[in-house]
Symmetry: C2
Subunit: 176 residues, 2 copies
Amino acid sequence: MRNLPLEKVYRQIEPGPVVLLTTARDGRANVMTLSWHMMVEFTPPLIACIVSDANFSHAALRKTGECVVAIPAAHLAEKVVRMGNCSGRDVDKFASIGLTPKPAQCVVAPLIAECAVNIECQVADKSMASRYCLFVLEAVKAWFDPKQRDAKTLHHRGFGQFAVDGEMIELKSDKP
Amino acid sequence: MRNLPLEKVYRQIEPGPVVLLTTARDGRANVMTLSWHMMVEFTPPLIACIVSDANFSHAALRKTGECVVAIPAAHLAEKVVRMGNCSGRDVDKFASIGLTPKPAQCVVAPLIAECAVNIECQVADKSMASRYCLFVLEAVKAWFDPKQRDAKTLHHRGFGQFAVDGEMIELKSDKP
């Protein structure tokens, strides 16, 4: 994996792909799927996300204040769905689903070797975690897989239905 | 346009499409492009969005507490880009870009006739508007265009580059 400059993180999140969120607590890593996220700020890159308190990851995120946001390409769709339908309370999802955790640089939560992009994050604001389960994350280090430079991502439409990135349109615009 | 049940709103927003946000203030309608948005809650449907205070719409949203979130299909890409590169301070964007405002049912902000989906919203929480330019919107009424039922949407990657929805994947999942 190679360094992804932090000022380019928004270009990965803004299109709205399904992402995977990893946490690590008491030596145990976990991972969940997540589509309720958005960019909040370019610099430093802030990402908001909703992690329901019904998810095992919610408490880990609150307690450790760290996570990794990883972006899977479309060929991982089946693993994404399996991941969304079990809980880290019951199983080691990395092992049971067949994903490879890799040490991160700035956080204890692991990167996911199979993902096209990995973004190491620290929780910057959890003041909305009780009311909305909303966490504001700050991206502190990011990586991309040069072999998956043009990865097609997944966009969840509910109940296992996904739109995969198709045609690319390029129009002249000065807007980031 | 036909009624879109409010419990289906998340299926339109969760995939992360570029949306248009309309406001109306002092008898004057405006519209902007927006990609920094996410679902916050299923019922009632809550949508968070970031509307920079550099945008003319920010003050209208704060003052009126109302807006419409409209989803354009990919054939509107050129208009979307033109809209993002001018300001409602200077021009009537509906007229200059060629979009048709239509009266909404519950809010003063207009629907956009050309869009596949229109969601009438009230600002439910602006307590994060000063710190993050973050507004929590509650969807109070939604519409879809039956002629654009399978609309392909746009996902912005920065500087006028968009991924258009391509292949659809359907996998068995009990997760909404």
